[in-house]
Amino acid sequence: MAADARGAPRAETASRPEGRAPWRRLSLRALALGYVLLFIALPIAAVVADGFSDGLAGLLQDVTRPVAWAAIRLTLWTAALMTAINAVMGTLTALALVRYSFPGRSVVNAMVDLPFAIPTLVTGVMLVILYGPQGALGGWLKSSWGVDVIFAPPGIVLALLFISMPFVVRSVQPVLMALELDQEQAAHTLGASPWQSFRRVLLPALAPAIATGSMLAFARALGEFGSIVVVAGNFPFRSQTAPVYILTQIESDHQRAASAVSIVLLAIAFSLMLVVDLVQRRREAGRA
């Protein structure tokens, strides 16, 4: 994803005839750069400038306010828990889809993309109906286990699991498909148990794909809003995540507080993208 262009051979570009109409090439380049600067760089710069308008001290003060800090912590740990579950279940789903044939396999394969198509707000509505106190599963969880899902952290984790379900599956699936079976077969012939060959041969081969898929899911989850605002509501210290906190600060005109927490979220997400990019580049370099 992030590294798509890196594989492009530079030599091919250089050897093309550039004689005719260089102004056309230059104007296209200028258009692309201008569009991206105007639409991506400028807005981000505006948030950063606003958050730092009272310097680093002001930013830190806004971020460490108890309500803000609680919202950031809640966002981070629910996203981390989701990522851990997703890494395991996503890998298993990819394994089931690639290695086994079972009734309903193509339905499951299509279902994996569903979270990308369904608006996240609708996802929230779906989950509230089923897991709410009056819902079939929610009522049972409440009466038998005393677990509140809706308006509580479990609901947040659930919503995040739904919206980021495709990331690990779609990252692991192509690697698993391209993987030759000979190494596993060799391990088997040499007397390795299925568990040993899974842990020593298959898992290391899949690890980079699992890692990049998980990091993208985590980065995406940090910013999630639509499903969470429906599922978790807006209770400070209990179910208010960082994006929802930012919304409340915008609505009550505390602009700098909104910018400060935005900067924290942007910084974490961008660093993760950088790491994903590095991992993918190394993977491509290793393959070449």
């Binding site: 994803m1 992030a2 798509d4 262009a5 890196r6 492009a8 530079r10 570009t13 093309r16 005719r20 056309r24 296209l28 380049r29 692309a32 750069l33 569009y35 991206v36 639409f39 807005p43 948030v47 298993l92 789903t93 089931a96 690639v98 290695r99 086994y100 394969n109 279902m111 993309d113 979270p115 198509a117 369904i118 608006p119 996240t120 707000l121 996802t123 509505v125 109906i129 089923l130 079939a136 599963l137 739904f162 379900m165 995406r220 940090l222 910013g223 809003f225 639509g226 429906v230 994006p243 930012i246 915008i250 909104a258 910018s259 935005s262 997400a269 961008f270 993208m273 950088l274 990019d277």
Partner: protein, 286 residues
């Protein structure tokens, strides 16, 4: 999708013969099926049941209400603008990233993905910062005589930001794959740049472009947080389909909310289905 864009759906191959514990297959498949059942399928059925609990009445009520019709119309209008703008610029950016080489190309390539991970709330907030009180671009909007923050233009800008990467990311691998031989040959035979683009490049990438546009459309139709913040959700003015659903939930008009949610979900699902068809055509045309 969303997000880092879902790579094109993968063709399912015949699985190799299992050489492991016989129960491993059923354990894995059973776990996956029950997990997806509880996480995806059951909630899906629950919302359908909720929406149809009172028959088709709520649907009729919702879709004769002028406020709702306006909200859905607004959603479609914004989505179409986003699709057009990002279609044109996505094509240009993809071409520049694949065919051109200049210092800063790697940076441009990295920046393109940022909208995937910026929270929609922050996207809407950026519009307010740039075009609100003392915003950097407020003088520009004033000079043009338009209001951007808490108005339609702001919602369009936010949606364009959110959907910016899809077309570029879908086109880049296709552009790379078709190579430059055809374009070079046409150029040698005397075709002008525009003719080469129209007759060689565009037909070569049309399915990739279509797939990117469909992804953009699906994402734009479902956008919620960014248009909520940028537009302010004024009923009858800046209320889109998702904002109507949100308000109905808030006012405890649940059947209306479910009916509208199911409609929007069904449209998205139809788009996913269309996406499948486009993908198959594209794969077949390779």
């Amino acid at each position: 999708m969303p997000e880092p864009a879902p790579r094109a759906r993968l063709k399912l191959r015949r699985p190799p013969p299992p050489r492991e514990w016989p129960w491993a297959k059923w354990l894995i498949v059973g776990t996956v099926l029950s997990y997806l059942g509880v996480l995806v399928l059951w909630p899906l059925l629950a919302v359908l049941r909720g929406a149809f609990a009172e028959g088709l009445g709520p649907f009729a009520m919702v879709f004769t209400d002028p406020v709702v019709l306006r909200a859905f119309g607004l959603t479609v209008g914004i989505a179409l603008i986003a699709v057009t703008v990002n279609g044109v610029f996505g094509l240009i950016i993809a071409w520049v990233l694949v065919r051109d080489s200049f210092p800063g190309r790697a940076l441009l390539n990295g920046v393109i993905d940022l909208p995937f991970v910026v929270s929609p709330v922050i996207v809407g907030y950026m519009v307010l910062l740039l075009f609100g009180r003392d915003g950097w671009l407020t003088p520009l909007a004033n000079a043009l005589g338009t209001r951007v923050a808490f108005a339609l233009p702001g919602m369009v800008l936010a949606t364009v930001f959110v959907t910016l990467p899809f077309v570029t990311r879908e086109l880049m691998p296709v552009l790379r794959e078709i190579g430059t031989e055809g374009e070079d040959a046409a150029g040698t035979l005397g075709a002008g740049g525009w003719t080469v683009f129209r007759r060689i490049t565009l037909p070569g990438v049309r399915w990739g472009l279509a797939y990117g546009l469909v992804l953009t459309l699906a994402r734009a139709l479902g956008e919620f947080g960014a248009v909520l913040v940028a537009g302010g959700a004024v009923t009858g003015r800046t209320e889109t389909a998702t904002l109507f659903i949100y308000r109905s939930l808030d006012e405890r008009h649940y059947t209306e909310a479910y009916a509208a949610a199911v409609t929007l979900g069904a449209v998205s699902f139809a788009i996913l289905f269309g996406m499948e068809l486009v993908r198959r055509r594209r794969d077949a045309s390779r």
